[in-house]
Symmetry: C3
Subunit: 349 residues, 3 copies
């Protein structure tokens, strides 16, 4: 029998199955520096130990999206190595802060299965969890992917599609953010004066700047996350594939859009939850990514005087500026849109 | 009102204005590793904790140019986002050593303003300072840039051009270098036997090696420095711009030239001051950078038996070796020259 | 006299000569993160401090090949700057574990010299050693390179070719691996259930995945190792050279093949020795690297109940999958093969 794993196919998953993913990972200051070099984030809390300490963190926490990517990467060899498409995310919550030196591992539970009518593929729903060395969950999220069957004739499991929330409830946010002394939050150092109540639902913000993506960059990023999806790395096979070229990890687009969003959202320092996300179109090297955000909602958090939450919908485009806020157009999207991300960010009150 | 900052235009600056720049930054071993990967420096003091400790540092200090780039990067969103050209540096001094774990922030004072006769642009002179978490200045320098006006009709401020030194006085050098036990300085490990008095004013040194620059490399570098100048990252806009392509951050050329200069200046381990620097021509990806240096002067430092200073003029070229020392030719430069950097380096006596 | 070193030529070497190489290097978590980003290794022992501690390491050790590359890099300016070809490795043993914070330096002894009949080049054999800050050897290996003569007329040294072992004796392996508590080794976290006795001599394993190499990636890697061989960095000179382009450092191919080999060898967590290695063909950017391994032998180690050793022969190819195990064909190799590496890896019993 082969010692090489080809990954799971649709018929390999069972409802309720719990998968412990391989390769625990200690996050270090080296990972943080690479994350900065890859995306150029400028949020003061994650950039400066001093800034973080002044407001009540023991030191600068690791960027939430770096945590997400590391946990996500671990799930790939078991969940999505034979995926045709990554269909969506939901119910993603950041539960505990992560600091350099923490070690993350990941597990997934199969919470839904649905064969497609062509019997060649099926949809797998998993709830994945990232856990630290103290066995505390730091992150959980639901993801669903369309996975190939090994054998079209394999019997289909009973269809089960999980009920998923449209949005994480604001009242459950904030676990990854200690109670902060926001009196010590220096708005000049943070880069802008705007707080929770300066943002109005419906408000639209063009983040202006654009960032061109290179092959070496997304490969470095995706390997840093120990994500093994071959579409990101293997030009030889992808040249013969659907796109004729390497497809960039969707999370790379999310991190680029988030880093660009500093210009306009400088104090929205923590991603507290991801309500949903859709990779509207693929991203390829050579494209320049732009982003804009709409404020969807504003929430106070029970028992917290320090921070509140903004529900944001951030759109990323390629090779198109966002001054006129390109987004959904009826059932479809402006053709330049590649990402539609709905998330909650914490911001001082 | 928009929450997005478009950066300052010429008419936004006021003489004497003090700007606190955003995003303090804790420098880590991760940044140091990236700096090594980006340029390949081989100076033993910055490369080895053991070597540094043996001669009297608490541990290996952070490369001076990494400190410079991080401080410089912070000034960009406020000072040069609307710059047409980075015209020069002067009076740059490294004042305290920086170690991994230190947090840097930056501020700038507007020390000069001069509208250009076309009324479309003006020159802004700033003295920028980098400061550590103990509120000690680690770096200061003057920079002047040509900045666009938002509105040609905006009234010009009173013209004020600061008097700047041609060179930093040798007697003021050395703040960033503790008193060293140079008896413990191992010249074999350092890579060459040459000390202060082995170099003669007028001597010219070809650093021989060449380094080709890739787009991914300078983008990683410039994001690592949280420098947001769009010309470095945004192919979509630059394709329509002056050069038709991304322009590489000038500091990237400085760091390449400095790293190449190890071959010939192995013991000139610290950049103590930058007297002046001129980006003679732009640098683009695909070019191979070479460098040579001329010894301009040699100085002993008051009260210091351990180290002295070499005043060096380092020229970088693209796609041209430096065996015949291409440099200024009358009013102009050899067409391959991209950098003319005048700096002081410390070296054991 | 020039202060720039052009490197040693064949006639500069003397039998028995001991060379202390320049630039000691403190290995940090930053280097480890970059190594992960460059190759995507997933061996749990090197990835997780927690996993490593559970089985008896003080923390996660540095990847053996990162140690190799750093030591190798130091030897380049003295040994192979004027090399025409890197001919082989032998008797490479990893002797002590290396952890972030350790400082490595390197020295080489000339153990063989043989002028070629054309009198233009000669073969230099060196035994190189990497040493930590406690003056303990962490690595030793023999390398032989074909080096140009400066002057064809220079007299040839007496010919001396060292007797080298075909393979490191299994009984001498394991110095870089403390005695482990393998009862605490978690095979689910490690990624596969296979131990020493699950592998059979003769068994062949296709590692399936492919990795495309970019210029920026191998340049970052090779500078990280402070390797100064110009063929890797200098497009201007290489465009006029043998291949018309930059040649990738051979060690980059070794690390790619090793990282790919996780899929099939997940528990073969430490490279204990390299018996020999041949860069069968050059590697250039744009190529996609694949790999497969053959189990050559299996060995128990004297006095060790925890781990044994697998002797593996790993072949890397470019732009060709390895499902049919392309390798040697008589005197030659399949034209896609670029690497033939013979090494010992430790694996739990």
């Amino acid at each position: 029998m082969s010692k090489t794993s080809p990954g799971n196919f649709f018929e390999d998953f069972r409802l309720g199955q719990l998968i412990q993913h391989a390769t625990p990972r200690t996050i270090t200051a080296g990972d943080v520096a690479l994350y900065t070099a890859l995306y150029g984030p400028r949020f003061a809390v994650q950039s400066s130990d001093e800034f973080a300490r002044a407001i009540g963190y023991p030191r600068a926490p690791v960027d939430d999206l770096l945590v997400f990517h590391v946990v996500f990467g671990k799930t790939v060899p078991d969940v999505s190595l034979n995926a045709v498409a990554n269909l969506g995310y939901a119910e993603c919550r950041f539960l505990k802060p992560v600091y350099p030196g923490d070690t993350l591992s990941a597990s997934s539970e199969v919470i839904g299965l649905k064969e497609n009518s062509n019997r060649k593929t099926g949809i797998v729903y998993v709830r994945s969890r990232g856990r630290n060395q103290h066995r505390q969950d730091v992150l959980e999220y639901v993801r669903w992917v369309m996975v190939r069957k090994r054998d079209e004739a394999a019997p289909a499991p009973a269809e089960q599609v999980p009920q998923l929330s449209d949005a994480v409830e604001a009242a459950t946010l904030g676990g990854a953010c200690p109670i902060l002394n926001t009196a010590a939050y220096d708005y000049a150092l943070a880069g802008a004066p705007y707080r929770l109540h300066d943002y109005k639902p419906g408000e639209r913000i063009d983040h202006i700047d654009g960032m061109t993506v290179e092959e070496a960059e997304h490969q470095l990023a995706t390997r840093l996350y120990q994500n093994t999806a071959r579409v990101h790395f293997n030009l030889f096979s992808e040249a013969q594939g659907r796109f004729g070229k390497r497809l960039i990890y969707g999370g790379h687009a999310i991190s680029l859009a988030r880093a660009l969003s500093f210009n306009g959202l400088a104090n929205a320092f923590q991603v507290a939850a991801i309500n949903g996300g859709r990779h509207v179109a693929p991203l390829f090297a050579g494209a320049t990514v732009f982003a804009w955000s709409q404020v969807v909602a504003r929430a106070e958090l029970p028992g917290r005087e320090d921070v509140g939450a903004l529900r944001l919908r951030t759109f990323a485009t390629t090779d198109r500026t966002c001054a006129d806020f390109p987004g959904p157009t009826g059932q479809d999207y402006d053709p330049a849109v590649i990402l539609d991300l709905d998330y909650w960010a914490l911001i001082p009150r």
